[in-house]
């Protein structure tokens, strides 16, 4: 789960990670009010959406008067922001964050993530602040300094020094930087973060380090012990169909193709997408109905797939283990009564009680249901059906 910049900064403040002063606003006048309270004569108005690349897309603007703050906020709220991370459909801006202008002397990058090979968190720093870290990693890997932090010893001075010297910081800068990094480590561990990114981290004219931007993502499995984070969830930032799927214990991801897929198990679900492509088609979705697939989840699965108007055929690919295929077959029949399925459904059921399942489907003799003998046969038929060639 991801949160907004303003929410991440609230958490940062709580942990003593320095951030500029600021406040969130939902309307132009509210933005003006926030700016007036902050005082000064320079503000930054930032669109709050869960995607990077806001600056280039016009989602971060400087204002030099309260009138300007209000005008910019009014323009920003309600606009659809398209960045390289939002996809072409973009994201609607519902709120802005108004922050005091900062005296930027130098920009850095600082981030934390789990290193899956080392099996411990790593902190990454770079002098190339403001740039996409992916690009830096690809073009100048030597400009990224990484330290792995063994959680059993926690953040130590030497971790901080390695980063600070790597960034070429001066003697006076090292102490405040290490303090900053140590507080950030504590946020990451305490909150079960999956990722923290500060891009840019800035050094001000007075030698202070400030998180000018803040991005945080959390381990979904750990949210149960962080009710405060759970409250920060912004459902308008999430795909409504994916959310609906989750409610029923299904895992769904929308794709661009026209062959719908319903599969049990995440690996087999990805493999099913792959074989559709391999056979010359394009998958319309990833859908894992889970190990415990039953008639209700199957019915819900059809409903989700058919919300996508591009879908021209559906490939049901179930390998029954503990789940019996005859139950799935009955589920499919029941589902076709609950949901109007008006595209060909290619059904491949293998594993436990596959023969009984085939018999059930054959007896029911429903026009749109086409049996398949194995994975390859099913994929071929589903692709042909989507092209209207079956």
């Amino acid at each position: 789960m991801n949160i907004h910049e303003y929410q991440a900064k609230e958490i940062f403040r709580e942990y003593g990670v320095p951030v500029p002063r600021g406040g969130v606003a939902f309307t132009g006048p509210e933005a003006r009010e926030v700016a007036a309270q902050l005082g000064g004569n320079l503000w930054v108005v930032k669109a709050q959406i869960h995607a990077g690349g806001r600056g280039k897309a016009g989602g971060v603007k400087l204002a030099r008067s309260l009138d300007e703050v209000e005008k910019i906020a009014e323009e920003m709220i309600g606009m659809v922001l398209v960045t390289h991370q939002t996809g072409p459909e973009g994201k609607r801006v519902e709120k802005v964050y108004v922050e005091e202008g900062a005296d930027i002397q130098k920009e850095y990058y600082l981030g934390m993530v789990l290193d899956r090979s080392l099996e411990m968190p790593v902190m990454m720093a770079s002098t190339e602040g403001g740039m996409e870290i992916e690009e830096v990693a690809a073009q100048h890997p030597e400009k990224i300094i990484k330290v792995a932090i063994d959680p059993t010893i926690g953040f130590q001075g030497f971790h901080g020094r390695k980063l600070a010297f790597g960034l070429g910081l001066s003697k006076e800068e090292i102490r405040p930087f290490i303090k900053f990094a140590e507080a950030l480590y504590k946020v990451y561990m305490d909150k079960d973060a999956e990722m923290i990114e500060i891009n840019p981290l800035i050094k001000t004219g007075s030698g202070e380090f400030l998180a000018l931007d803040a991005k945080m993502g959390f381990d979904d499995n750990a949210l149960y012990r962080h009710p405060d984070i759970m409250e920060m969830r912004d459902l308008s930032e999430e795909d409504p169909v994916e959310l609906e799927a989750k409610k029923y214990g299904l895992s769904y991801v929308n794709l661009d193709g026209n062959v719908g897929c319903m599969v049990n198990g995440a690996g087999l679900a990805m493999a099913t997408m792959d074989i559709i492509k391999h056979e010359g088609g394009e998958p319309a979705n990833f859908l894992d109905v889970g190990g415990g697939a039953n008639p209700d989840t199957v019915a819900k699965g059809f409903e989700l797939i058919l919300q996508d108007e591009n879908v021209k055929s559906i490939f049901v690919n179930i390998f029954g283990g503990i789940v019996r295929c005859d139950r799935i077959a009955n589920g499919i029949l029941q589902a076709t009564k609950q949901v109007e399925v008006n595209v060909p459904v290619i059904v491949r059921l293998d594993g436990t009680n596959a023969e009984e399942a085939a018999e059930i489907l054959q007896k029911a003799n429903i026009k749109n249901i086409i049996p398949a003998t194995d994975l390859a046969d099913g994929a071929r038929k589903a692709v042909a059906a989507a092209k209207g060639e079956l």
Partner: protein, 290 residues
């Protein structure tokens, strides 16, 4: 022969008396696994599925001589259960539970390693030595005995692969579902040399997916250390970037962890990489000259 577990392996179950624990323990017993008891704190002294229940893993190990634990406790208590097993002298913990926090598993795995305990999972189907010992939730009947070792991040795709191998008239020595979480126990790199050393295993199937670098590390290892044919399929060739595909670890971050880079690395290491998941069985048969 086989790897890690066989008909003589003594297994206890943590979370023995719960719904999942009960159902799957029963299935394992029917398969022939020597489930010698279980642990449910507060239920020590009772009998469940005709086996003794203990309050602690230590008591269970002392009384039964078990060396393996199958873990079904809920996600919030999984790390605790793993660490208790490690401290009690269990040699291998098979963690079936799905949804354990990553941070918990990070600590649990470090503690297990410190005590010399191997782990499989979490969020995995478990391990099965065909026709001898099943420790997990996979349907046993799919795994017929034969010369192929199987390592997989995915559950149902493991069943699919085994089914294809069996349809070619071959079969499985041991199949290990390693799980698709960001932090997992035994992985390709630790399991490959076990299969290499197992005289009954003639070929190894590895099934990977997008996310992380385990398959790339495996490729480097195979190049130097594995002489038996390896057949690989990587799921998620058509997965979009930045989207989590069911498994917590199955995500392409930025441009790393793609199926393509994994397939290329494996191919360069001399692995038979199949593009279509329907070709796994056939390719194994060809590699074995059958």
């Amino acid at each position: 022969m086989s790897i890690l577990v066989n008909k003589d392996t003594k297994v206890i179950v943590q979370g023995f008396t719960g719904k999942e624990g009960t159902f799957h323990s029963q299935q394992c017993i029917e398969y022939g696994t020597q489930i010698v008891g279980g642990v449910t704190p507060g239920k020590g002294g009772q009998t469940h599925l005709d086996r003794p229940v203990f309050n602690t893993v230590k008591e269970a190990v002392d009384a039964t001589g078990a060396t393996v634990s199958m873990i079904f406790v809920p996600p919030a208590f999984t790390a605790d259960a793993v660490m208790e097993a490690a401290e009690a002298g269990i040699e291998l913990a098979v963690i079936i539970t799905e949804g354990a926090p990553v941070k918990d598993m990070m600590y649990a795995k470090m503690y297990a390693t410190k005590h010399g305990m191997k782990t499989i999972g979490p969020n995995c189907p478990g391990i099965i030595t065909a026709e001898e010992c099943k420790i997990g939730i996979m349907p046993g009947f799919i795994f017929k005995k034969g010369p192929v070792g199987l390592i997989s991040k995915s559950g149902t795709l493991t069943y699919e692969a085994s089914n294809q191998v069996v349809k070619e008239g071959l079969g499985i020595t041991t199949a290990v579902g390693i799980g698709g979480d960001p932090i997992i126990g035994l992985s390709y790199k630790q399991l490959l040399p076990m299969f290499e050393a197992d005289p009954e295993t003639e070929a190894i199937v590895m099934i990977g997916e997008i996310g992380g670098t385990l398959e790339i590390e495996a490729a480097e290892f195979i190049k130097e250390n594995i002489s038996k044919p390896v057949i690989a399929f990587i799921a998620g060739q058509t997965a979009p970037k930045g989207k989590r595909m069911g498994h917590a670890g199955a995500i392409i971050s930025g441009s790393s962890g793609t199926a393509q880079e994994k397939m290329e690395a494996l191919e360069a290491a001399g692995v038979h990489v199949v593009k279509s998941p329907a070709d796994i069985g056939k390719t194994v048969a060809t590699a074995l000259g059958k």
